[in-house]
């Protein structure tokens, strides 16, 4: 067992957090200094009173109705034997930081590994997607994703990436992306995006999907948003083939977004994926962008448009992760990991017949 200190790579010692013990949680540290150093972050996992949850942020940070519901559950442990990426211990993706810029062309062996990791990522997201229903907390979804990864011998890539505390991103309603799973139960009428990335055999595969919670699929505006976003991704993927310009993808996404009267988030982009979680190319989703890159066989990257019912402008919660729309209106996202082939594109994280959360019809305006 490793030390619970987020920035610590040591083996855990015998020093346990007394507060956690009271609630029957084992948070074990290697030393007192390590415990002290991590205190400010660690204390957020403490219930304020036995079993009670609380809102860690002042009211003015919120733009919509979703609230952070703390405490976060303790960091989930990674099974022995699972190969971890370099940031798993110290939070710093050193290889990414030191990587030379440039778009990698993957060899056949690497492609096969990414294909396999993608297949597993699809299995994991489908398990998580089936669990989506009113009442389940996003922390519970995180547990499900984490355990599904462990069962498959894969590391959940978000965990400790720049100290991200959880194994998956769960983004509800006005949360655009990077939501941290917490104690908030999903409510009827919500939408939730589950963003899963797995790391296995030295490669990552990244995908996300937005699911309707309960009657949300009956709300015409929400359906327009979710299905419009799904279609914008499909339309962009349809363009991908050797010779396609990366910068042209945003034009297509924004064209579809306009068709459904939706706006396109500009601050977050798709990216290369493979040996690194995030690499070149940078794939903006908005029109008239100046991204560089011509698609060539062997390139692997994501497209992950985030579309909004209202403004595309975003702000961030004080957790430094959760991105929300400035006007608090809903935002949806879909993402696939794509391989450019000799003749077109292979959607490595594609759905299968049993995958939950397929497209639905958009009600026609009367």
């Amino acid at each position: 067992m490793s030390c619970s200190g987020q920035d610590c790579a040591n083996e855990a010692g015998t020093l346990k957090c007394p507060t956690c013990l009271k609630f029957g949680i084992d948070s074990v540290y290697c030393s007192q200094t390590c415990f002290k150093r991590n205190w400010s972050k660690h204390k957020s996992v403490h219930p304020q009173e036995s079993g009670k949850v609380y809102d860690p942020f002042p009211a003015l940070v919120y733009t919509g109705s979703v609230r952070a519901v703390y405490p976060l559950s303790p960091r989930r442990l990674v099974k022995a034997g699972i190969v971890c990426p370099d940031y798993a211990e110290d939070g710093e993706p050193t290889e990414e930081i030191e990587a030379k810029s440039g778009i990698e062309i993957c060899d056949a062996e690497t492609i096969e590994k990414i294909r396999n990791t993608s297949r597993l990522a699809r299995e994991v997201i489908d398990i998580a997607g089936r669990a989506v229903k009113p009442g389940i907390t996003t922390d519970e979804i995180d547990r499900i994703v984490h355990e599904a990864c462990m069962e498959r011998g894969a590391y959940p890539s978000p965990l400790n990436y720049y100290f991200f505390p959880k194994s998956v991103c769960t983004s509800v309603n006005e949360v655009i992306c990077h939501g941290i799973p917490d104690q908030r139960p999903l409510e009827d009428g919500d939408i939730v995006n589950i963003d899963v990335t797995l790391y296995k055999d030295g490669v990552h595969s990244d995908m996300n999907h937005t699911y309707y919670v309960g009657s949300a699929s009956k709300n015409p505006d929400v359906v327009r948003l979710v299905e419009g976003t799904r279609r914008s991704l499909d339309a962009a993927i349809a363009l991908v083939k050797p010779g396609c310009l990366i910068r042209s993808l945003g034009n297509e996404i924004e064209r579809v977004a306009k068709e459904y009267n939706l706006s396109v988030v500009r601050s977050y982009t798709g990216h290369g994926v493979g040996k690194l979680f995030h690499s070149d190319p940078n794939v903006p989703h908005y029109a008239n962008n100046k991204a560089v890159g011509v698609c060539q066989p062997g390139m692997v990257f994501t497209i992950e448009p985030m579309l909004c019912l209202g403004t595309y402008r975003d702000s961030r919660w004080p957790d430094n992760w959760t991105a929300v729309t400035k006007d608090g209106k809903y935002s949806a996202q879909f993402e696939h990991t794509l391989l450019v082939t000799e003749t077109g594109v292979e959607v490595l994280t594609r759905r299968n017949k049993r995958s939950p959360g397929g497209p639905i019809d958009i009600p026609k305006k009367k």
Partner: protein
Amino acid sequence: MNGFDELKSLDVEILGDIQLRESKLGGTGVFANKHLNEGDVIMRIPKESVLSPKTCAAANIISEFQSKLEPQDLLVACYLFEKSQGSESPWHQFIDIAENATQPDVFLLWTPEEQKMLKNTNLDVWQVPQLEKFQETYNETLPLFEKLTIVPSFNIPTFDEYLRTSLIISSRAFDVDNYHKIALVPGACFFNHSDREHVHFEATGDVCEICGEIECDCIYSDSEDEEIEEIISDMEFEEDEDEEEEGDDEQLNEENDVASVVDMDDADVDNDSSCDECDDDDDGDRYCELRLISPVSKGSEIFNTYGQDPNGVLLNRYGFAIWNNKHDVVDFDKETFTLAQQFDKVKELEEWLQAQEDIADTMDQDSVKELDDSDSEFENDQSGDSDEIAFLGLINDNNDTEIPRASAGLIELADRFQVDLNVLIQALADLRLKKYYFTEDSKELYAKSKKEVGRKQAAMVVVASEKNIIERYIKLAI
């Protein structure tokens, strides 16, 4: 309407009250609508809006040829690629302007008959790039062009199209920094050239070669100059001052995001937020600026310098020459040989030349004679001592009333020949003046040139300017 509207989509900021309109020099120029002060920044171009091998959509293909082709040849490919994208290219309006402008009528396009007008001028001594050289580079670039045809709208250019584009590039490119290297800078190339310029092109050149940032984590970064250290320490100091209110935002910006990469360049920055990304001082290295080095009066054309170059270089790269160009020279290379024979000093001359070659080899410095050297674009290439020692001639670099200067090399040679410097120069001048195509003296020739146009006019200006330097030296120094 100031004529710069086409550049809005590239986020070019027009900061001075300036206007694009017809210039007396032909084509368009930039004019001051009111009095402008020295030190004013009149135009600011984000580095991300320059067209370079780093920003071209085909950057990933072009970078494969980085070690095989020269930066300017890569830029030719970038330009042709973006041109092939038509209105889909972020630079299409800029490219339209460049395509529709008068193309530089450079010396190499002149017929052999026309080139004779410049017989025995500097241009005759210097290595003028020939069509064959372009043909060679074209052949070397063909594999890149072939690779670019993966994009259906790109067609391999004909040699003529390639040549035409090469001339556009060499007449318009700026040296931006060691990340972009030479690039096309929308807006900056609208200024006409003068040897008595008002405006200077400024861009922080010492940035990381890998990512283009001043301060970065790239392990291959070369930016280790003291100057850069100073800038970094200044930046840190400024950040410290603002830490209290902006500390949080700083932290936000430094962190990447888990499911997607933050697109810093296009991140929406609100004016009302405390984010200091919008602070001019902090990200000056992300912009190219045009700053006035002298005041400009209302209604005057604002000139830039394309380089402190003699007429030979100007004619070769831009297709024009300037009467009494401040940076002009007279190169006595050929005459020195003739004279050495007359003085029976051939052995001394050869020894001296060999010594210079050895120095040049060790210094590996660009000499004034390197005409097709495009790196000297905007940097001051004021002849350093090492350059000047290899140069045998007269240097104008003064005003009309002052005496042109004998180069350090010429002074040393006189010493070696054991003759008086002015005796040497008089002898060289006599040889030179006899051989010009135009026989009139400088003032008369210049007066006549005003009645001519095109290539003949340019040739007359080149000869008249050279003669003017020689005549003034003889009149004032001897």
